[in-house]
Each structure stands twice: as C-alpha cells, then as structure tokens.
C-alpha cells in the first residue's frame, strides 16, 4: 500500500514539473562550458533518418533550458510562428473542450506527464554525456 501511494504522489503534476526543473538545474550547474557540446551529435547510435534532423547537444541543451523556463515562469512563448502552427491543432480540439472537458484534460495531462518524464531523462543523459566529454567519471 505504501509503495502504491508513493507511486501516486510521485506522478502528481506539480511533482513531475518540479522534478523536471530540478533535473535541468542540475544540468545547468554541471555544464560549466556549454560550448563543449557544440557539434556533438545527440545520439551516436541514432539511425540514419534521425541523424539528418537531429540537433547537436548544444541545441538540445538550449531547448531543455527554454522548456524549464517556460514551466517555471511563463506559459505562452513569445514565438508567434510556434503559436500559429499550434492554433490549428487547438482549434480542432475545441468541440471536445465544450463537450468532454474531462477527456481533453486527461489527454493533455497524460501527454504532459509523458513529455516531462522523457525530457527529464534526456536532461540526465545530456548531463552524463557532458561529463563523458570532459572526462569526469560518474
């Protein structure tokens, strides 16, 4: 029973967001020379298709930091292009907002949980990769 409760409280939304923030802060504090991440491919084992489009570690690092800032401080990014491209997506879901807000809520909540967990893991991987680059054992 205790472990089930722990599992539940671990998955609460605010904890998930805080965990992500904390992992990224750890990454920022570890990576003192972010420029070392330039031109380092994210995943050496990536298949050819992914490799063409993937960001290098430095771009990844910036993205993870930007997401942390969004989570902590502001909701709406000041990127009009991004907002426009998503406007159509949200518009498509509008009927659901009216008729089944619960379903839409769960869709976004689950989605956000999944994304935050994945991003947190990737932040940790990136931090470890940096430590590899500078030759620190971890």
């Amino acid at each position: 029973m205790q472990s089930a409760d722990a599992k539940l409280s671990q998955s609460s939304l605010q904890l998930a967001l805080r965990r992500y923030s904390s992992v990224v802060r750890d990454m920022e504090q570890t990576i003192l020379l972010p420029s070392l991440l330039r031109d380092v491919p994210y995943d050496e084992a990536a298949d050819c298709e992914a490799a063409d489009n993937s960001m290098d570690l430095y771009e990844y690092y910036l993205m993870l930091k930007a997401i942390k800032n969004t989570v902590e401080s502001g909701l709406i990014p000041h990127d009009d292009a991004k907002a426009k491209s998503q406007a159509a997506l949200h518009k498509g879901l509008e009927p659901l907002l009216e008729a089944q807000p619960e379903a839409l809520f769960h869709f976004h909540l689950r989605g956000l949980f999944t994304v935050m967990a994945t991003l947190a893991k990737k932040s940790q991987n990136l931090t470890e990769k940096y430590l590899d680059i500078i030759g620190v054992s971890h």
């Binding site: 539940l8 997401i67 990014p77 991004k82 997506l89 807000p101 809520f105 976004h108 999944t114």
Partner: protein, 146 residues
C-alpha cells in the same frame, strides 16, 4: 532560489493555473455542504450560451466532475486511469499512442499539452466559480440579503 519563487508567482505559469483551479474547486467543495441540492438544477441560462457545455448534466454532474479532475491533478494520472478502467472497463478514446516522439517533436508536444492544459484548467476554474455562486444563489446566501 528567490528567483524561482518569484517566477512561480507569475500570472501565466501552469503552477498558478493549477493552483487557481484547485483553489476554486476547494472553495466550491467547502461551500457546497449539501451537494444533493444541486441535483436536477439545470445549468444557468448564461452557461448554456457556452455551446453545449456539460450538455447532458445538471449542476451536480458538474460538481462531481470538477472534484474528480482536482483529484487527478493532485494524485496523478495513474490513479485516474485505474478509476476509469474500473468504471468503464476501457481506457479513454484519447489514449496516447506508445510511439516515442522524436526530439524536435518533444518540444512541440510540450507546448501543445501545456497550452491545452492551461486552456482546459482556466475554463474549468470558471466553471467551479460559477457553480459555487449558483449554489449560493440556490440556498439564498450571497445574494441580495437573506
């Protein structure tokens, strides 16, 4: 560290949207001492103008729904899924696919879900406040005087 505390106070953050929603539902929960009074109370004339909102329910249905969503935020998705499976025997139709999104999609997905969640929560916060006020009207408090 202070910086983070300040930024949590910023109006638009998801933390604040979540807290506002939870606060509104807690307020509703504490005000509505006799939930059964909400049964068969039709949704407001004003509310019906918001197209089809909670169309099939009465105020009691809205009340239960809002509390359930508050619990989902506080206790997480795992429990919510378990409860829905018990109730319906199936997982919801909007189930996320198990395909791992690629790296660039992750950022887009993050913004999509964050904005979507914010929109739903804002709407539901208004619902909770409206319901609380409606209840007070029903039982004759907070109106033009008892």
């Amino acid at each position: 560290m202070m910086q983070i505390c300040d930024s949590y106070n910023q109006k638009n953050s998801l933390f604040n949207a979540t807290n506002r929603f939870i606060g509104a539902v807690n307020n509703m929960d504490q005000t509505v001492m006799v939930p059964s009074l909400l049964r068969d109370v039709p949704l407001d004339q004003e509310e019906e103008k918001e197209v089809n909102t909670f169309q099939d329910g009465d105020m009691y249905g809205s009340y239960v729904l809002l509390k359930s969503i508050r619990n989902d935020i506080e206790w997480g998705v795992l429990q919510a899924d378990e409860r829905r499976k018990d109730k319906h025997g199936v997982t919801p139709s909007l189930e996320m696919s198990c395909i791992e999104p690629n790296d660039e999609d992750l950022e887009k997905l993050f913004h999509f879900h964050l904005t979507g969640l914010h929109t739903v929560l804002s709407k539901l916060t208004r619902k909770a406040n409206t319901l609380t006020n409606r209840y007070k009207k029903e039982i004759g408090i907070g109106g033009c005087g008892n």
